[in-house]
Amino acid sequence: MLSELDQKSAVADKLVITDSDFEKFRDFFYRKTGIKFENSKRYFVDKRLIDRITATETESFRQYFSFMRFQASGHEQQALINAMTVNETYFYREEYQFECLVENVMNEIAASKRPGDTIRIWSIPSSTGEEPYSIGLYLLEKWPQLDNFEVEIVSSDIDSNVLDKCAQGIYNERSVSGLPARVLKKYFTQIGVGKYQISIDLREAVKFTQVNLAQPTQTRAYRGFDVVFCRNLLIYFDDASRRNAADVFYDALLPNGFVFLGHSESMSRISSLYKVRKFPKAMVYQKPA
C-alpha cells in the first residue's frame, strides 16, 4: 500500500506541463500580476504548477487552470500567486540606502514639515518583513530628528502568506546576520535555536497590507507618502508593468517625495516622471514639486 504522500508523489511524477500550457499560464499570470516569466524560468514555473495541481487534487494542468480561474472564492488564485513569488531577503540588505535615508532624505523631508507632522514611508514588497523593519530600526537608531515627527511605515506585498510572517516578526540566523550585535540584542528576543523575534514595539510600528500593483482598485488608496522603497521587484516585471508601477508610485507620493529602487534598477529607463537625486551614498528618484 502506498502512503498518501507516496500517492501524491506518484501523481506529480506523471504530470506534464506542455509548451502551450506554459504559454497559457504565462499570459494569464502576466495579465493578473504584471509579472512575466521568461523561458529561463520554465523549471521554476513548472515545478510550482505541478505542486498546485497536486495540492488541489486536480488531474491535469487543463483541469487545474479551469478550477483556479473560475473558483468563486479566488483562494486558489491567491495560493498560486503566493507560490510563484519569491520571498527571500535579510535585514539591512543594501544598507547604504538606509544610510542615505537617515543622512539625507529624511532631513530634507523634515525641513519641509512642521514639528509634529507625519512622515509616511511605503515599503513594497514587504516580503517577510526584513525591509520595513530595517527602515524602522534605522530610524530609531540613526535619525536624531525622529522624536520631532510621527513616522508611519506601511508595507505591502501581493503574497498574503508573508503578511502573517511579517506580523509575527520571527527570523532565522541568516536573516539577522547583517545586524550589529548591539541592535540584535536591543530589539530582538531569541525564542529558540537560531530563531529571533523582533520587539513588539517594532511589530506595532509597521502596518502590513496586501496589494497587487497591477490592480488599480487596490493601489488607489495609497496616497500621501513621502518615501517609497521598492527594491528588487521591478526586475521581475516587463516594461509595461514597470511603467505601471512607476505611475502607481508617482500617484502615491507627495510632491518632492522620494523613490528608492534596487541597485540594479533604474527609474530613468522606466519613466520620465522623476528626477534623479544623487546623494553621497545613493541615487534616489524624486517626484517633482
Binding site: P115, G116, T118, G136, L139, L140, L146, D147, N148, F149, E150, V151, E152, I153, S160, L163, D164, C166, A167, D201, L202, R203, E204, A205, V206, K207, F208, T209, Q210, V211, N212, Q215, P216, T217, Q218, R220, D239, A240, R243, N244, D247, Y250, D251, S271, S272, L273
Partner: protein
Amino acid sequence: MGLRKTSTNIALPDENVENENREVPRDFTQLKFQILSLEPSERRWAARDLGNHPEGVPILLETLETETVVPVLDAIFTSLQKHPTHECVNGLIRFLSSEDASVRNNAIEVLQSMPNALETHILSLLNHPDSDVRIFAIDILQQLVHQNAPEWLKSVLLDETHVNVVATAVDRIVEIGDSSILPTLERVAQRFAQHDYIQFAVNTAIERIKEDTYA
C-alpha cells in the same frame, strides 16, 4: 513622536472595491469629460482610468494631440499600452513625427511593446517618406520582440538610400544580428564606399558580431 503604532497591523484589500465611493463616478461617460478638465491631476486620473475602457483608445489618442503636461502624457501612454490593437498602433504611429521628443520617445516605447499589432505596419514605417520616421522605426525594431525583426532590419540595410538611416540600421543590427548578416553588411560598405562614417560603422559592426559569434 517617533514611529506611529498601529493596533491591527495586517490589512487585506477591501473585497468590495468595485463598489468603492469616489468623488466623481468613474464610468466611461464621466471620464470623457474628466480628461478635458482644467486641473492636470484630474486629467491624469481620467487618463489612467480610461485605460480600463477599450473604447477610450480614440479619446486618449486625440488628447495626445493637445496635452502638454508630462504626468498626464505619461498616464495616457501607460493606458494606451494596455490596448495593443491596430487602432492604437495606427494612432500612435503619427506621433513618431511629433516635434516633442518626450511624446516621440513614449510613442516608440509603447509601439515596441505591441509586436503583433505592429507587424502589418512595420514595412510601411520603414518606407515612410520622412527619413526621421524611418530612423524611429529602426529604434522600434531594436527592442521589438518579433522573430522577423532581424529580417526587417536586413531589408533596410539592403534597400535604404539615406545615409543616416543606414547608419542607424548598422548600429542597431549589432544587437540583434548574427553571422548570417555579415555579407549584407559588406554590401552596405560597397554601396556607401564614399562615406567614411559608414565604412567605420560597418567595420565596427562586423568585428562585434564576429566577437559575439566566435567567443
